[in-house]
Symmetry: C2
Subunit: 279 residues, 2 copies
């Protein structure tokens, strides 16, 4: 048994959808969430930069003594997971593998589409994960860079959102896929218009639930779960001022967000490195 918290990070607020499912599955666990709001978004940035940011954040969370890390950002899961596993010894769970598993179990025609940021799509992480699980499944991918700003602008159900979805997704529908992985934590907010374009016979897969199940499984396997009678505490950190995160986060969690603290990761890293180099 371990009383330590579960660490969760995302480039911003989107990973709260994953946190929500983890809290639902494991209400007895403490969580520490970090949203890198001073450097959001990750999806348009290079793998090198995303890896650097992911390492800084993991350093910070490991410094707060977590027992497991959830990389709740698709882009960071796609490009930084191997590097994090090399550098840190705690179990680390991304959102790609669970999403891929769900897609493979859902598809009947064996044709799956994956949409995500440019970083996620370029990495081919979903395609590789799906092929590892079932080499027969065909995977088509499409980057949808405007979906994140649309979701953040709250334009999720207007003509612009509808036209954008059509422009990005029409080709995928014509490819005859029966499963669509929403490979970015923002995309569930656009579910309505995505469903309109894809049609009701295409199943939309969102990794949050499956990721929570994976986390529960690993903690159980390693005997790291807290007693079920407990009630977890939840702490939130962001790298920009908290106001925007609090507003959107409360929408994501139904008004249930607690205190949010701002942290300067550059400074945190600075101090650490200064100590190491200072001989």
């Amino acid at each position: 048994m371990s009383w330590k918290a579960i660490g969760i990070f995302d480039s911003g607020v989107g990973g709260l959808t994953v946190l929500k499912e983890i809290v639902k599955a494991l209400p007895q666990e403490d969580t520490i969430y970090l949203g890198d709001t001073a450097r959001v978004p990750y999806g348009t940035k290079s793998p090198e930069t995303v890896i650097r940011y992911a390492r800084q954040i993991t350093e910070f969370l490991v410094g707060r003594d977590i027992k497991l890390l959830v990389v709740a950002c698709n882009t960071a899961s796609a490009v930084a997971l191997d590097s994090l596993n090399e550098a840190f010894s705690i179990p680390i769970v991304g959102v790609i593998e669970p999403g891929a598993r769900r897609a493979v179990s859902v598809t009947k025609t064996g044709k799956v589409a994956v949409i995500g940021t440019e970083g996620t799509v370029k990495s081919s992480a979903y395609t590789k994960a799906i092929k590892r699980l079932s080499s027969d499944v065909q995977v088509v991918t499409r980057a949808c860079p405007l979906f994140v700003p649309l979701a953040e602008e709250g334009w999720v159900d207007n003509e612009v959102a509808r036209l954008t979805a059509r422009s990005y997704l029409e080709g995928l529908r014509e490819d005859g896929v029966d499963t669509l992985v929403l490979g970015c934590t923002h995309y569930p907010l656009l579910k309505g218009v995505i469903e309109e374009v894809m049609g009701s016979d295409v199943v939309l897969v969102d990794s949050a639930e499956e990721t929570a199940r994976t986390v529960a499984g690993i903690l159980a396997d390693h005997d790291l779960l807290r007693p079920v009678a407990e009630k977890g505490n939840h702490h939130y950190f962001v790298t920009d001022v908290p106001a925007g995160f609090i507003r959107v986060g409360n929408r994501f969690l139904g008004g249930d967000l607690g205190d949010v603290y701002q942290v300067n990761l550059e400074q945190a890293i600075q101090v650490g490195d200064g100590g190491d180099d200072g001989e």
Copy 2:
């Protein structure tokens, strides 16, 4: 006379439109450009964070011995200029003041609209600058958060761009303005659809030219210009890997971009700070 370079920075690639005008006006001058591509965009981030980034960048450019700094980013000009002027002694030119001056000289009806990022609009920097120049001019403002991602996606002339422009700008047209300030370096890329919505009798003001004129004036007043027979060299730095910047930058400058170097500002700052503190 000073042989030092002119420093220019932006959150990303957009400031190259300002660089281009400076090079056109002052071909004899060396320039050093920094695009903060690892942390772009600034427009959605808090003033505190944008000020911190702007100070780090200015520190870096001043360390390369520039004679004048151009803040070619509207958001940073809007929120960080005072703080930079307090901390550094070289002349610092933003893009807000020149844009405001142009707008005041152009308007006939005395009704001016300003569009920009959320950060720029919230700061009221344009409204204040315009009112300082002419208290009679009426200013209406509108944040257009989707214009930057649209420009970066290259969707500048399709139905989505058109609908988005209509949604943001129709109200401004109804307000009867005769001048529209494009208060973000990305927006000139969307000039076509913006003109369609606003109509041909509304003048679009882009600060780049006027900023270049301001820079030339200050250097002349301080006797800091290089001899006109010279031909300047141009150096580019970015904080993420250069590939994306090179591709888009060449489009901005007509294939004229030179070598681009990547720099880690966090590390740069770290080393600097370590030296200062290390007694």
